[in-house]
Amino acid sequence: MEGCSEPRLDAKSELVDFQWKLGMAVSSDSCRSLKYPYVAVLLKVADHSGQVKNKCFEMTIPQFQNFYRQFKEIAAVIETV
């Protein structure tokens, strides 16, 4: 479909490695008193051809806690299926 922004759900990748870092942004040029903690994540994902790519992103603490909570739900569901 032309111009369709739907994700390609058939292109599933496998998570090969999950690396994380808990950082604290202290100060920046636009804000001298930032003081916010964040979780930086590096995912190594392998597509169906076996090619491994790195994907990085950051989460705020509330975002991470939501991510963790959702993943615990996945774990609970997958056990019962």
Binding site: L22, C31, L43, K55, C56, F57, Q70
Partner: protein, 188 residues
């Protein structure tokens, strides 16, 4: 100074406009737009330094992420300065910061994040059933879709598949992150 500039009615609107331009990345807010909308009786020559003063005050407050004690002290000092602000204006600025602090802080945090952020997350669990060629029955699989993207750029979608073992492994790593966060958040 023009009497209109000493008033405080239009100041709330001015601060909103300044915040949109300085923090929330709104492009079209010029000084002429602000003047004509909020202080139409004031000349541009008089308006310009007034705008610069208010912008400076707002940026100082945001940059220092002032709490209410600091804000009080800062604004009081501004009212005592030569060419400073009136106490009515200080009250308007104080109210503005209290109402918009969280949103402004969020924008400042986003501005300083140059890596991708997590924009969305969805998932489902499928139960794989028996196939013709494999003896595998009932291996559940979790499919997670992550939407990530950099500020101002289109999202990238990442679709990951996990079996039970992989879910368990990742869960363990996530609990390590959670533990680190708890340690960090503990009072020293």
């Amino acid at each position: 100074m023009a009497a209109e500039l000493e008033g405080s009615k239009a100041l709330g609107g001015l601060l909103s406009g300044l915040a949109q331009e300085a923090f929330h990345g709104h492009q079209g807010i010029t000084e002429e737009l602000l003047r004509s909308q909020l202080y139409p009786e004031v000349s541009l020559e008089e308006f310009r330094p007034f705008l610069a003063k208010m912008r400076g005050i707002l940026k100082s407050i945001a940059s220092a992420d002032m709490d209410f004690n600091q804000l009080e002290a800062f604004l009081t000092a501004q009212t005592k300065k030569q060419g400073g602000i009136t106490s009515d204006q200080a009250a308007v600025i104080s109210k503005f910061w209290k109402n918009h602090k969280t949103k402004i802080r969020e924008s400042l945090m986003n501005q300083s994040r140059w890596d991708s952020g997590l924009r969305g997350l969805s998932w489902r669990v499928d139960g794989k059933s028996q196939s013709r060629h494999s003896a595998q029955i009932h291996t559940p699989v979790a499919i997670m879709e992550l939407e990530i993207g950099k500020s101002g750029q289109e999202s990238e979608f990442l679709c990951l598949e996990f079996d039970e073992v992989k879910v368990s492994q990742l869960l363990k790593k996530l609990s390590e992150v959670e533990e680190s966060i708890s340690t960090l958040m503990q009072p020293a």
